[in-house]
């Protein structure tokens, strides 16, 4: 009891928090949490990929269209923008997949 009375430093508190957290992770924390959120998370990733595909093409085509209207080079910049947009869309999707893979590799419970 007397030990608790003395002034606790932040380091002590950190140590105690860490040990409590580890005990918690071993017990209840790990088994219930990831399984619950997995369904929603996957739905979110699917949505991200789908929208990312469309958004890249739309952005590229829109930029091309605006540049065409500005410079009066009717179809050419639109075509170029569309192609670049497709590239950007695939790049975005690739990045989403890459980020997901990186997250999947880290062991559960560390986040």
């Amino acid at each position: 009891m007397a030990e608790d009375e003395r002034k606790a430093t932040p380091d002590d508190l950190d140590k105690r928090l860490k040990s409590v957290r580890q005990a918690y992770q071993k017990g209840v924390g790990r088994s219930s949490k990831p399984a619950q959120s997995a369904g929603g998370e996957k739905l979110g990733v699917g949505m991200r990929v789908a929208v990312e595909l469309v958004a890249g093409v739309v952005a590229g085509a829109f930029l091309g269209l605006m540049a065409d209207r500005w410079l009066g080079t009717k179809p050419w910049l639109l075509i170029l923008g569309f192609v670049l947009g497709c590239g950007a869309a695939f790049l975005n999707v690739y990045r989403v997949a890459q980020a997901e893979e990186r997250r999947g590799k880290s062991p559960p419970g560390t986040e």
Partner: protein, 242 residues
């Protein structure tokens, strides 16, 4: 029968207050629900934070849950440099979340189902993140547009693609939220139309409707989460150039 998209109509609730560039600005149902989202979230969070008890009550537990959720999100996705931006990210999350959820109430209006609202929010985030990046890194920020270690002769192809990819961010951010909310609400209304039209057999779509309503609550939470976490990821890109 009412059209399924009638729920998205903007109605003026007051006489026009003033006009900007020929557009008469009045208080609309959309504006009322935005104010409601701000008011409800403020009351809930202030009520939760005011007691500061050691053992939290209902509201305090809820506020702390929100706080820790966003604080963890920023720590995991942005790191310590992101802590300065906590108030902004938190506001963004709560505003989107309550906008989505209040829209699910009967007679509710979902302001997040309007591309004007979501695109403006995305644009603010996009400009803010870009300016933060430029202020922090100066011209070095533009190295974001050329992947590190790529051969130099690929630059004419890669740089335009990277720029288009960067500019597509506000579009994907806003379209995702807008499309999810709009589609969900149209689906609910169409199924509700079946319930009325099928008479006694309307029980079948009614059961589906109940399930879809639960799914809509999930989607409302999920989309607010995704909107916020993507803002965190964009912020991270601007703060720590790869």
């Amino acid at each position: 029968m009412a059209s399924p998209v009638e729920q998205f109509a903007i109605q003026n609730l007051t006489a026009p207050l003033f006009s900007i560039g020929g557009n008469h600005i009045a208080v609309t149902n959309s504006a009322v629900f935005m104010m409601a989202a701000v008011a409800v979230s403020s009351v809930l969070l202030v009520a939760g934070a005011s007691r500061g008890a050691m053992i939290p009550g209902r509201f305090q537990a809820m506020s702390e849950l929100f706080y820790e959720f966003i604080a963890n999100m920023i720590r995991d996705n942005v790191g310590n440099a992101g802590k300065k931006f906590f108030p902004f990210i938190f506001t963004l999350f709560i505003f989107t979340l309550f906008g989505n959820l209040l829209g699910l109430l009967p007679y509710g209006f979902t302001f997040t189902s309007h591309i004007a609202v979501t695109f403006f929010m995305a644009l603010v985030v996009f400009l803010a993140v870009t300016l933060i990046g430029i202020f922090k890194h100066g011209l070095h920020f533009f190295s974001l547009f050329f992947p590190h270690g790529a051969p130099l002769f690929t630059a004419p192809i890669l740089i335009p693609i990277e720029i288009v990819s960067y500019l597509s961010r506000p579009i994907s951010l806003s379209v995702r939220l807008f499309a999810n909310m709009t589609v969900g609400h149209v689906l609910l209304k169409v199924l509700a139309g079946f319930v009325v039209a099928l008479g006694i057999f309307g029980v079948v779509p009614l059961v589906v409707l109940v399930a879809i309503t639960a799914l809509e609550v999930l989607i409302a939470l999920l989309q607010a989460y995704i909107f916020t976490i993507l803002c965190c990821i964009y912020l991270n890109d601007a703060l720590h150039l790869h």
